[in-house]
Structure formats: C-alpha cells, structure tokens
Point group: C2
Chain length 210, copies 2
DNA sequence: GGGAAAGCCCCCCGAAAGAGGGGATTGCAG
DNA sequence: CTGCAATCCCCTCTTTCGGGGGGCTTTCCC
C-alpha cells in the first residue's frame, strides 16, 4: 500500500447496461486512490465513442448489451487501438463468447459474481501489462471447445424458432440435405443428442440468440 | 428530504449472488440516511435464515440464485411470515417467474437494470404499504400467460436434456403416450411448433432450468 | 503443395416425432 | 353437483429426424 502514491492514477472507463452494477463498480473504485473513473457508458456504441475520446488506461466491458454487443465493440476498438487494454465482465461462466472475447484480444475476463478484490487485482495486474482470466471462465473456455460456425448458428437459431430442416433449407436457400449435414456437425460439436438438446446447450453457452 | 429524520430507518436485507451488484445496492443505501442495511446473503437459504433471524422491513431478493431459488425462498418466507414485504430483483423482463413471483405475493418487482432512483422509490413505496411493479415486467407478465404445470416442466426439462419421449417416459415412470400427450399440451400452451421451439420459448420465459 | 476446416450437396433407412382422434381419474372451485 | 384443469393412458397415420455412408469446392495456414 505504501508504494509511490504520486503516480498518475489508472484511468478507467466502465461500460455496462446495468446501472446498479455500475454503481457497485464505481463504489469500489471510489475507495481506491490509485484508480480514477473517467467515463461510464451503457452500450457498445458508447464503449467505442468513449475509447476514441478519452483513451482510458483500462476499459471494463460487459458482453451482454443492447445495440452493439460487447464482442463487436471490443473487436472494433482493438482494430483501431491495438494497444487497448480491455477487461471483460460477464454474467455466465459457460458463456461461449468468453472464447470469442479471449481470441479477440481481451486482456482479462472476469465474472460478475467476482469479489471486489478480484476486480481490483484484475485491474492492477492488467495495468502492469499482465492479464487476468477467471479460472471458471478459463476452464469453461477450453473444456468446451464449444462454438459454432456462422452457418451452424444460422441453422440452429432457425431450428430454435421452430423450423423443420426443410423450412430452414428454404429460408437459407440450401438443400435439405445440407441442413441435415449442418445438424450433424452441430450435434457432434456440442455433444448433443438431438436438435432440442443442441438448442439447450447452445443457449446455456451463449452460442445463439433466442 | 426534510421529513422527520428521527423515524427509525427502514431495515433492509439484500439477497443476491452477485457481489458486485450487492456492492452497488449497498453503496446506494449508504447515501440514504433513512435506509439501513441489516443483512446480506447470496442464496435462497440465506434469505430464509436472514428473514427468520432479523425480520427486515424489506427483503430485496434476486430470483436467479444457486441452491434454493428466489421463488422458492419467497414462498417459504411468505408462508411463515405473511406480512413479509419482498421486493424482487431480476435480470430479465421476459422472465416467466415474474408471474410466479407476483402470484406468490411479492410486494414489488424491479429489473436489475433499473436506476438508483427507481430502487429507492420502490423501497420507500413498499415500506409505506404500497407496491412497485416495473412496467416492462408487468407488461411481459400478462402478455404471456405462459406457464407450465409441474409435470409439463418435468417433461420439457428432460426433453431439453436430450431425452426422447421414450426415455422421458422411463425416467418419469409414465407411458410414452402420456409423454406425447404432455408434449402436445406444452406445444399448445407455448404456441410452439415442436419440442425444440418449445424449449427455446420456455428458456426465454424462464419456465425451465437448463 | 498438403492438410484442415468451412461451406455445400447426395444417397438409404429405421426410429422418432407430431397430428389426429379416443378415453380415464382425481381434486378443487364455483 | 358441476365444471374445469391436471394427470394419466391408448390408437393410427404421416412426416421428420438422425445415423450411416459418400462426395465436391474454396480458403487459409503451415
């Protein structure tokens, strides 16, 4: 605690669509003299705008948000500012987007049900140039190589909406056999017994939108 | 702000499994002299224990929690203390449990993405003997009279886990025809095209656990 | 250049699902 | 007492699913 107190504080921006959670995070920062909250936003667009305008040292970013979602915002920010340090906050440990986020270049990944101290550790370690990945997420991320290709998600989302293979084929201008082929691939990937199970797994892992 | 400041404060307990969100709520209360946080917990069991021991004026309760879930905890508390005033906090507006919670006797219903002021309004209005139901939830609650009977949820959950009708029948000690009968009832209730669609709808409405 | 992975397409066939009917019993509320 | 909702059971028929094979390009990476 007695390091050089006169270093400039770590400038942090928080983007999350839950006001109460933001308040929680803000309250945590308020007790830390070396952390300065410089901006707050509630969607992906705000994240991008804030990054461009303020260049925070660390951006705390939720993945589930309206409008532009977290992964999208992150990808865009990182393509513009490759040096950006982003700490992803998420609700679910099994979230398939965890893998996406990590691949997209997040500096850290934290569950929303983390403790205050974990949040602070994560921020300081990232600011020192390190990374911080929650064990649960990490485990979940590689335990399940569960992700779907673009086409597979299309197919599965349509199935979740109550379409038969034939209807999916019509909707996507494919042959029914092709759709069946994707279904087989989906089952294999997710370890599902049937389409119903596949939808359940995909939802649990944040792989498709309902 | 200049009402009788010497009334005894409103004693509040918060039960939610997200530490950071709890911190947010706690931080909000800390700024309000007429509100006193007397207990904090992170699951349904804790909610029941806290209610028995401390009898808070208002219990702030999350619906999605490990172990004993929110609706369950609420039902038990209200059967023991019918005068209990419980404000339900939830993440999703389309949550089917909203209806359950309201029927079970919640005094209020608030989305987690509410503003600080809404939280305070809700607490004060409930403490005065009123109720507070978020419009979004309210709308969602009666728009969809979507709920399932106990047996129907059992069947659908097993279907979501990848079981065939035959397997479900075996698991529940029913005939396959009976399971098919439940399936038909489920489709009719939820307006689903098939089991896959039914699972998607049920999940979106918080009707089944994955 | 070789291989892997995604994206497409085709076959057969048995098992499962879903639509359509028909019942029965409880138990609770009006 | 009557109606209704929930729980349970049975039948037939057609469609769909999912497993098992087999292909073909293109793209991207080593």
């Amino acid at each position: 605690m007695e390091t050089s107190e006169f270093e400039s504080p770590i400038r942090i921006a928080v983007v999350d669509d839950h006001p109460l959670l933001r308040d929680g995070i803000i309250a945590v920062f308020a007790t830390q003299p070396d952390l300065e909250l410089i901006a707050v936003g509630e969607d992906g667009e705000a994240a991008i705008r804030i990054y461009r305008e303020k260049r925070p040292d660390i951006l705390l970013l939720d993945l589930q948000m309206p409008n532009v979602d977290g992964v999208e915002a992150m990808t865009r920010i990182l393509s513009e500012f490759p040096e950006a340090r982003i700490l992803v906050l998420t609700t679910y440990s099994g979230d398939g987007r965890a893998t996406q986020a990590i691949k997209a270049g997040a500096s850290g990944y934290l569950l929303k049900n983390s403790l205050r101290t974990e949040l602070l550790d994560a921020i300081r370690s990232i600011h020192r140039g390190g990374t911080h990945f929650d064990r649960q997420v990490f485990g979940a991320a590689d335990r399940e190589a569960k992700r779907l290709t673009a086409r597979e998600s299309d197919v599965l989302e349509l199935a979740a909406a109550g379409n038969s293979n034939k209807q999916i084929a019509a909707r996507l201008s494919l042959s029914e056999d092709t759709v069946k082929g994707y279904m087989k691939a989906i089952f294999a990937r997710l370890g599902a017994m049937d389409r119903t199970h596949a939808v359940a797994i995909a939802v649990r892992n944040g792989l498709i939108e309902l």
